[in-house]
């Protein structure tokens, strides 16, 4: 094994009474892709932030052979600046007092070609889809030529086709001697691309493997500390269509919806397979009542006209798990109690005579925390301070907390660990068993295959294929997703 490029010794970090990292030693060798896995809240992200220097540990030492770069789970880009401005922030090439824009564009262009990460240097970041933002984030670190690169959930936002390209870049970096530490939940990626695996649980390292000498199953067992819980059984059978969508069109340009017709039955999970940016966002937003559309959406025989806002749709039992939990679902500065009430603030039992029933809201929050194993299980915890996975559990838990007619789940397990993902999957199946129509939009085929009763493939704003659970053809679906 090569000399360690990053060496952590005896790292400890407490947040209040919670021990996030509890005595961790970790070596990452130069030229190695090292995976750091564990459940939500196991301390992985905190450890990465400590290695980067963004969080000061209570105890322990950090040694690195050169600069350390970190690509964060939540993007830390300046939304209103252009791509090149973000990438070169603080190291802009100058011409006298001015910034040399021509050279700046050239530097970014060369960098993106060299690493195979295509970006438009002049695009304003806030206009970019999430997958491209992630590329910008990576380029911003690569411009500093780090000896150690820390990647926190780097592929959480990427489409399957982008993941391969992303890891090709990472492997290229490792081949040039960069030490890479990847924090991830995706065991398939760990198995395919890493050389070493370290497993954390409750702030401690509980296992370490050479990837070639272990299996995904063994890693999963080490993460959970036992067996991964099985998915809930499908009990009820599918009956009449609850949701029917006809000729739905919305938006314009890339990502527009160009005439989508589909149906979802009572007691049915329908999966929408596809690569991000093929109209999935607008499909979810149209059903949620937050995007303009033409065409017909009918739920239980009653139409949902475009003018019908989110409030009335919520009242009709529609529950949405939106794609961007931090901006579209949560108030980060609020505690769990106030967050779970969002969307139900006008409905009994949380509301009486115009005031919020605090006791009922707290009970409701406690129920969500228990059913979805939110950690820490403290209803007064501020949501912005929770790990991404636990934030997602709150969003999903809130949506699935009561009886619903239609659930639209957009990447419901994004950023959450395998134990929690199984839990979310089971809760979606339970909603289906209770008679809800469930529309599952995901970029991860395995998730769709595991949960869906029926699958549509989406490409270019249209549905281009339909498969029953009994006749899934993985190769054919993959080809359709890519436009074949």
């Amino acid at each position: 094994m090569a000399e360690a490029a990053l060496r952590l010794r005896g790292i400890r970090k407490h947040f209040g009474s919670v021990s996030a990292v509890d005595g961790v030693d970790l070596d990452v060798a130069a030229g190695e892709i090292h995976a750091l896995v564990g459940e939500n809240g196991a301390g992985k992200s905190t450890l990465a932030a400590i290695a980067y220097g963004a969080v000061k540990p209570d105890a322990g030492t950090i040694e690195a052979v050169g600069t350390v770069g970190l690509v964060h789970q939540h993007f830390a880009l300046i939304e209103r600046l252009r791509v090149w401005e973000n990438i070169l922030l603080g190291r802009e090439p100058r011409a006298g007092l001015r910034i040399d824009r021509g050279r700046a564009r050239a530097i970014v262009g060369e960098l993106s070609t060299r690493h195979g990460l295509a970006v438009d240097p002049d695009a304003v970041v806030e206009t970019l889809p999430i997958g491209i933002k992630q590329r910008v984030e990576l380029l911003r670190e690569l411009v500093r030529e780090p000896a150690v690169l820390l990647l926190d959930e780097p592929t959480a936002a990427l489409a399957p086709s982008e993941i391969g390209a992303f890891f090709a870049t990472v492997q290229q970096l490792a081949a040039r001697g960069t030490a890479v530490l990847i924090v991830t939940h995706k065991l398939a990626e760990v198995m395919d691309y890493s050389q070493s695996v370290t497993v954390m649980r409750a702030g401690k390292i509980v296992a370490a493997f050479r990837t070639a000498q272990t299996s995904a199953d063994a890693i999963a067992r080490a993460m959970v500390g036992g067996d991964v819980p099985p998915l809930a059984a499908r009990t009820a059978t599918t009956s009449a269509a609850r949701l029917s969508v006809r000729d739905l069109c919305a938006g314009s340009g890339a990502g527009a919806l160009a005439g989508v017709s589909l149906s979802v039955g009572s007691g049915e999970i329908v999966g929408i397979a596809g690569i991000e940016g093929n109209g999935q966002s607008l499909l979810a937003d149209a059903i949620a009542g937050v995007a303009d559309y033409s065409g017909e959406i009918v739920l239980d025989g009653r139409p949902l006209p475009p003018a019908l806002g989110p409030a009335q749709r919520i009242a009709r039992g529609i529950r949405i798990i939106p794609q961007d939990r931090r901006h579209e679902a949560l108030v980060l500065g609020w505690n769990i109690v106030d967050n779970v009430a969002l969307g139900r603030q006008r409905n009994p039992p949380l509301q009486h005579g115009g005031t919020i029933d605090r006791a009922a809201t707290r009970r409701f929050a406690t129920g969500v925390i228990e059913r979805f194993d939110v950690r820490p299980p403290n209803p007064s915890a501020i949501v912005g301070a929770l790990s991404g996975g636990n934030q997602q559990k709150i969003v999903v838990g809130r949506a699935l907390a009561d009886e619903s007619t239609l659930v639209v789940a957009y990447q419901p397990t994004r950023g959450i660990d395998i134990g929690a993902a199984a839990l979310v999957g089971s809760r979606l199946i339970e909603a289906r068993n209770a008679g809800a129509a469930v529309l599952l939009i995901s970029f991860e085929l395995d998730e769709i295959f595991a949960l869906a009763d029926r699958i549509y493939v989406m490409f270019g704003g249209k549905l281009v294929g339909e498969f029953a659970r009994s006749s899934i053809d993985r190769g054919r679906i993959g080809a359709l997703m890519a436009g074949g």
């Binding site: 949620a288 989110p310 409030a311 749709r313 949405i320 579209e328 108030v331 500065g333 969002l342 115009g354």
Partner: protein, 335 residues
Amino acid sequence: MQRTLRDLLIALVVVFGVGSAAMLIAHASPIAGFGALLDGALGNASEFAETLLQTTALLFPALGIALAFRAGLFNIGAEGQIVLGGMTAGILGVALPLPGLVLIPLVLAGAACAGGLWGGLAGFLKARFGANEVISTLMLNTVALLLATYLIGGPFKQPGAGASETPQLPAAAWLPVLIPNTRLSVSFLLALLLAGALWYVFGRTVFGYELRAAGEAPEAARRAGIDLGRTALTAMTLSGAIAGLGGATIVMGVLHRFNTGLSPGYGFIAIAVALVGNLDPLFIILAAFGFGILQSGSIAMQAEANVPRDVVTLIEGLVIIALAGRRFVAQRRTS
């Protein structure tokens, strides 16, 4: 809570630190200066009453500004809303021949409507056209002052009125005095009551919940069924109504007539009051009292310690910069 206390502490440090420095530059002794200021504000019952009067004048607009802030809106138009509220009180109080028990609530309601209309106008522009409320409220301040000057000098001109003021109100329209032989009226209690009511509205009601959600996470709020346009309109209307009410209490409790110069910038100082109070109605009471001391003590400070009143203006400005800046930085970090 902790942050609120920290903000108050920052404000105190700025007040005493910068104040002392400014006094030294002005060749005055900080000890004598602050001594005269505190003595002039709190030295005896009538001075204390005068301080509470200033507190009241700041508390109304600060509560209105805090309400808008909670909804994510920056109401810089409180000054204009005070003027129009005060003008409406001045006109209605003279025009309506009614007994006090009916007249006072009616005049207050009229003033709240006028202020609410002015604030709501900015809210409407925001909801309908996306117009930035900072710009529109700021510009409406000037319009309000000119409108009031025109109306009381033209269409509503009454016999015996001066160029920029209405005739004296009949005694029936005067707010009852709270402490005998001072100018302090029951408007102080009204302001405290309003602060308590807002505390309840923010913390307990569905309306307050939706207001805060719209302010802190607009996209999440929209998807949870909260109508952002309507929230902006309602928040700005109420914000303006509260400031307008403040204008009316100055007219009905202190001046007993409307005068276009009724506010020496209460609507602007109140922005600092709302921020120092961290937008929490109960802490805003404390902040308003602190600024009330500065306002009422500054005259004594100038007279007795030979420290220019401008030092107080300077301090108030720096408190705004320190706290608004801190708030802005904190917001950038969390978003």
